[in-house]
């Protein structure tokens, strides 16, 4: 695991830490986007059902996904390698995260409501927030919330958006049609997930670059190396 440590270790640590906390959202928000983005092609008039059907995490499937990840928390960066098994029927995601030497860091089972920590490397016991943050991010990326045909459909020239009563929105672009962005916003807490660089992965049309940005000050980027259906 690569950890870029806090550079603030002096007696002014508290003051500087406060300054960092104020600036962190800006830093994460302004960080370079790691994936190329292109102007999407015009999207034909698709129904909500057609949009929902294009989502690769539709229920009834199990996937195994190998990825590398970068967790950015305030000014700190943590690089991880991982394998996640997503069960869209059970709505669970099981992750084993490792460092680049193959040392297992933690093993998590994430459900719709919570998570269970099956293993944590003893050296990481002083950082219990790390698996919690990753669990929350995995739920947002792979499990909850999901686009649904019951949601309100808004059509634009190059995008269609499904909007839930809660305000959660799911933006689709084309062609081929794909979920581009998931946004959850409330007065207390907002986050969004971008799904980039869709590729055919063993017959599955799935994103290979995923970015979760959380306004509480962290960002998780996943580079998907392989996805296959189990």
């Amino acid at each position: 695991m690569i950890r870029y440590n806090w550079p603030w270790r002096s007696k002014w640590q508290s003051l500087k830490l406060a300054m960092v906390l104020v600036c962190c959202a800006l830093v994460v928000g302004c960080a370079n986007h790691p994936f190329e983005r292109h102007q999407p092609q015009p999207l034909p008039e698709l129904t909500a059902q057609q949009l929902v059907d294009s989502w690769w995490l539709v229920t009834g499937h199990r996937y195994l996904c190998r990825h590398s990840g970068l967790l950015e928390v305030f000014m700190r960066k943590v690089a991880l390698e991982g394998v996640v098994k997503v069960d869209t029927t059970q709505q669970t995601a099981r992750l084993v995260a490792m460092d680049t030497m193959g040392v297992k860091l933690f093993d998590l089972l994430v459900t719709k409501q919570g998570h269970q920590l099956n293993y944590l490397l003893p050296l990481l016991e002083e950082h219990p927030q790390l698996p919690k943050m990753v669990a929350k991010s995995l739920r947002a990326i792979f499990l909850q919330p999901n686009p649904s045909v019951q949601q309100r459909l808004i059509r634009r020239e190059r995008r269609s958006v499904l909007v839930a009563d809660s305000g959660d929105s799911f933006e689709f672009i084309g062609m081929p049609v794909r979920l581009n962005r998931k946004v959850v916003s409330s007065e207390q807490h907002s986050w969004n997930v971008e799904y980039n660089q869709y590729l055919d992965q063993n017959g599955l049309w799935a994103p290979t670059g995923i970015v979760l940005t959380d306004d509480s000050g962290f960002r998780l980027t996943l580079w998907i190396q392989e996805i296959r259906e189990l």
């Binding site: 695991m1 970068l70 390698e81 098994k85 490792m98 680049t100 030497m101 297992k104 190396q225």
Partner: protein
């Protein structure tokens, strides 16, 4: 007499088939094997190898393959670098080093005495590169699985025993360097690192041990 012949035949058959089935006999580390490794290690000034790392995750029954390269120069310089699927690595000279990752710009300095995780990794790699049996004996119970080539089984003595079952270390025919390391964890996961294209005592440019950029 017939019974005796039958017993001898059975013993002979077992002695041939059990090793082939993975049932091996382990013996305590002898003075002779210790001496062979110590003498061979003294002849190694530099070492360079490519490696293939296979991580087996028992819960997914999945094997993850990574490749990289390794450099060592006596007494205390090391470079460990993964090239595929994601580039990352570190260099160490003495008690300090630099580490990097493809997903993060630049590199980060570290001191071994302030970074327990890196110190643990460095300690292991130097011990194997130097065949430092004195250090290894302080941390593991060593038994010999094979003498030609030398293959050692190491069972951790203390804290590591919580998550580490044992290690298997295989040396090359000349005893001078390690060709394979197997790390067996208590939960059924394992990592096998096969070293290949090893070159002993070639000249290694100092830049190899200074930072991430090689080419």
């Amino acid at each position: 007499m017939v019974a005796l012949k039958w017993c001898l035949t059975l013993l002979l058959w077992l002695s041939i088939t059990l090793p082939a089935m993975g049932w091996t006999t382990e013996v305590a580390l002898s003075a002779e094997v210790t001496q062979r490794l110590a003498v061979a290690a003294q002849q190694v000034e530099t070492l360079h190898s490519d490696f293939v790392q296979e991580k087996y995750l028992s819960i997914f029954e999945e094997k993850l393959i990574s490749t990289g390269q390794f450099y060592y120069q006596k007494p205390d310089q090391l470079r460990w670098e993964l090239l595929e699927p994601v580039g990352s690595g570190f260099v160490i000279t003495g008690d300090s080093g630099q580490r990097w990752h493809e997903r993060i710009d630049g590199s980060e300095s570290f001191k071994l005495d302030q970074d327990p995780a890196m110190a643990l990794i460095a300690e292991q790699l130097f011990a194997w590169a130097k065949a430092d049996l004195a250090w290894i004996k302080q941390n593991y119970t060593i038994s010999v699985v094979s003498e030609q080539p030398i293959q050692l089984k190491l069972v951790p003595l203390e804290a590591a025993a919580q998550f580490l079952s044992h290690l298997m270390i295989t040396f090359n025919d000349s005893d001078r360097y390690v060709v394979a390391v197997e790390i067996h964890e208590s939960d059924g996961d394992s990592t096998r690192i096969n070293f290949n294209n090893s070159v002993v005592n070639s000249e290694i440019n100092d830049a190899i041990f200074s930072d991430r950029c090689l080419k």
